[in-house]
Amino acid sequence: MKTIHLILWGAVAVGLILFLWLNIFQDASHLIEDGTSQNTATTFTPTFSLTDHQGNVVTEKTYRGKWLLVFFGFTNCPDICPTTLADLASVMEQLGADAKAIKPLFISVDPDRDQMETMAQYVSAFHPAIVGLTGTGSQITETAESFKAYFEKQPQESAPDGYIMGHTSAVYLISPDGAFIRTYSYGMSPEEIVADLEQKL
């Protein structure tokens, strides 16, 4: 009997360690990302003139009346961009009827490769509500400056076409009257974003 107890409690200990280890390990990246959280009280009104993935010329005024979730990225990005767009798709699904008040915008920082058709193919793979925006190099630069977002072309021998784009990883929340409200840093769960949005809607 004593041996059986020892074995069973041993199994508990092993199971507990595995359980904690797996959970903590899986959460570790999330904890690191929290360090990059950028909530700033500074208010500003971003402006832009770009082309959406259906070929329409759009500006910040096109989307007045909607809350905007704005993410900068590029379609050759295989990790953070799909992850963030999938998170935004999940946010839209979780919001249910409230999703009508939200417009997610994916702005390319790689206009050389991300033409309208590419953007259409890419964003539609995630959620029908997501709008892909691209433009000329100077339009993209002006847009990023207006959002106080950062991007940079970085030479990288092994990457497709020899470069990758470094870019701001956070998602911007813009109010229906066009004012910057906050950013959601990379690693925040869709549930956390939904909870925050529902307080504001």
């Binding site: 508990v12 507990l16 990005c77 956070a170």
Partner: protein
């Protein structure tokens, strides 16, 4: 035996909680390759990503030196990093799997970047990927393909 019941239940609970993550695993020597998965690609013109956990139960470190797969002419382990709110990405080169440790490739960190796709990765399909280790040698794993928006292995 009734005294054993609480510990039995606890053991079952924790082991059951721990095991789903270990479900699809391949063991070679001291290495256990767990839950490989990939996201569906959007066509073939852009790189895709695959993920996996490599656990080393041995007393000596091993090194992942390369990856081969027929779906990509250029598979490499890359790391996505965020510094001052800006994300960048680059190859990591040989990847050490520490003794009695593990390395997890997951969204938001390390990934196998599948460049020069030779075929689209279609949801519901799978492909074969060979991980090449300095000590353990070549390990073949079958990689299931989940949706383009998957954030982890889907059931």
């Amino acid at each position: 035996m009734s005294k054993a019941l609480p510990s039995l239940l606890l053991a079952f609970f924790f082991l059951a909680s721990a095991f789903p993550a270990l479900a699809e695993s391949t063991r070679v020597g001291n290495l256990v390759i767990e839950t490989p998965w990939a996201r569906a690609s959007i066509g073939m013109s852009r790189p895709a990503a695959a993920y996996v956990t490599i656990r080393n139960e041995g007393q000596t470190a091993d090194i992942l030196t390369g990856i081969e797969t027929t779906v990509s002419a250029m598979p490499e382990v890359h790391r996505m990093e965020i510094k001052d709110g800006v994300s960048t990405m680059g190859p990591v080169g040989p990847l050490e799997i520490p003794a009695n440790g593990s390395v997890t490739l997951a969204p938001g960190g390390l990934h196998v970047m599948l460049m020069k796709l030779q075929q689209p990765l279609t949801k519901g399909g799978q492909f074969s990927m060979t991980l090449i280790f300095k000590n353990a040698g070549r390990v073949d794993v079958s990689v299931p393909i989940y949706s383009v928006g998957a954030s982890g292995p889907e059931q």
